[in-house]
């Protein structure tokens, strides 16, 4: 088991049962959480291929009876190199908390931060997951 997957499962196991039940709607997804939301994502294809377009499937679960986000944005950047992608992904809402981001491409090997920005009526949460592509 990779360290990244192990950490994801540990984080998942710490979630409340209701939250886990919500996120279970995305098989094989990686879990992230913020004060306002829980999020699971998986890439298509997986793992992320270097230098090729890929998509991200996202499932968002508001916490504590909160509202679904009004907008979801997905992006990526390389913090060590201080640059982002050369493409601007589009995100399509598919209903029931599901979204699909298209048009991502990581053009350089190394560590990238995948960033999920969830904009609600009264809050914006940014959830980040580091990935390494080679």
């Amino acid at each position: 088991m990779s360290a990244g997957l192990g950490a994801a499962l540990l984080a998942w196991s710490a979630l409340a049962a209701a939250d886990a039940a919500c996120l279970a709607g995305l098989d094989g997804g990686q879990a992230l959480e913020s004060p306002g939301y829980l999020l699971a994502y998986r890439t298509r294809p997986a793992p992320i291929p270097l230098g090729q377009h890929f998509a991200v499937e996202v499932l968002v679960c508001p916490r504590g009876g909160g509202a679904a986000p009004d907008a979801v944005r997905v992006d990526a950047h390389m913090p060590e190199h201080r640059h982002g992608m050369n493409s601007r992904p589009t995100v399509r809402a598919e209903g029931a908390g599901r979204y699909r981001a298209e048009g991502l491409l990581l053009h350089m090997p190394g560590r990238w931060d995948l960033v999920f920005e969830l904009r609600g009526p009264d809050r914006t949460d940014r959830l980040t997951r580091s990935v390494v592509v080679e």
């Binding site: 270097l50 230098g51 377009h53 060590e80 190199h81 201080r82 640059h83 982002g84 992608m85 050369n86 493409s87 601007r88 992904p89 589009t90 298209e102 048009g103 491409l105 053009h107 350089m108 090997p109 190394g110 080679e134």
Partner: protein, 404 residues
Amino acid sequence: MRAGAVAALAVASALFASGAAGDPVAPAGLARFSDVEVQRILRHGPWPPPWAPDPSSRVSGRAAAAALGERLFFDPRLSGGGTVSCATCHRPERRFTDGRPRAEGLAAVDRNTPALANVRWQRWFGWDGAGDSLWAESSRPILDPREMGGSARGVADLVRADPDLGRGWVRAFGAAPGPDDLGVLVDAAKALAAYQETLVSGRTPFDAFRDALAQGDVAAARRYPLAAQRGLRLFVGRGACHLCHLGPAFTSGEFQDVGIPFFVAPGRVDPGRYEGVKRLRANPFNLLGPHSDDPARTTATGTRHVRLEHRNWGEFKVPSLRDVAHTAPYMHDGSLATLRDVVRHYSELDESRLHVHGERILRPLRLTDAEAEDLVAFLRSLSDERAPTASGRPGSASPPRRPE
């Protein structure tokens, strides 16, 4: 990582890797590479990689279209005055470059003539990436008044009137040229693209070493000069050249500002990718437009999502390094005459010029003279030393063909 690649890495690491980039020379004429360096080296092959025809051109990969495209490539009648052909700048005997710092067609151009070998694997075309397909890019110089100064009407009239080209057209497209001048120009560009798809550089000393590494073949690996091995270690190690020059073609296919001066003449700058993105979006021949033969627009993802940012100012496409020994002078403006000049440029980078947009990729390498020579030796080993064939096509790899 695929199972085969894992096995190859295990073999290579056992025979060649030191576990750390430590000992400068291994026994029997082999440098030592760390496990990470071995992984990076293996990712630069094998050569040539697989290729599939371009779905946006219905004649991509077709031999009859390539034959027509070859005729058109060398025909100066495509130009406005009948004096300039594609081959005026893309000269086969010079690996499809012209040896000049900047191209000269009907007039002087601000940029260096790029080589054409291996263009079939590219995502963006032209130094600024304003073309998103090989056929779209092939139409551009025909219409550019500084390059060929032609027109859709001129090209259409030529192929309709010339019996030999007309026969080639029927073989390539299954029908005579139609009445729509613009449509004929686009199809001529698709034939030109089909020809250029056949230009594949041959295997190189680096490829032999890389494959020996993958197979654990020490005897074969020893044939790769030690200077090139040391240069390779710099390339994938301290130099971090592999961050942009990656994969079998030694390019990310994307864009980078590497510190070449912005000015192409006093008071005039080349905006590079910044203008390229704008031109791409405005290009009626782009993959989102009506001239693509792919109804699903499966290859248009990059165009649909292309991003314009201020940092694109002064960025130019990362060129492939294959055949680089034969394609001097270098950089988008041809301002560096030799590979030694290129290595010196990266060794002495002006950081204050480079990091105006906040990026932190490039640092001056501060190479010793010996290290610089090693890096040049490695770069030279990326070239196919065999002379081009009579038709001018580099290399010997057989491109895949669609069934006729």
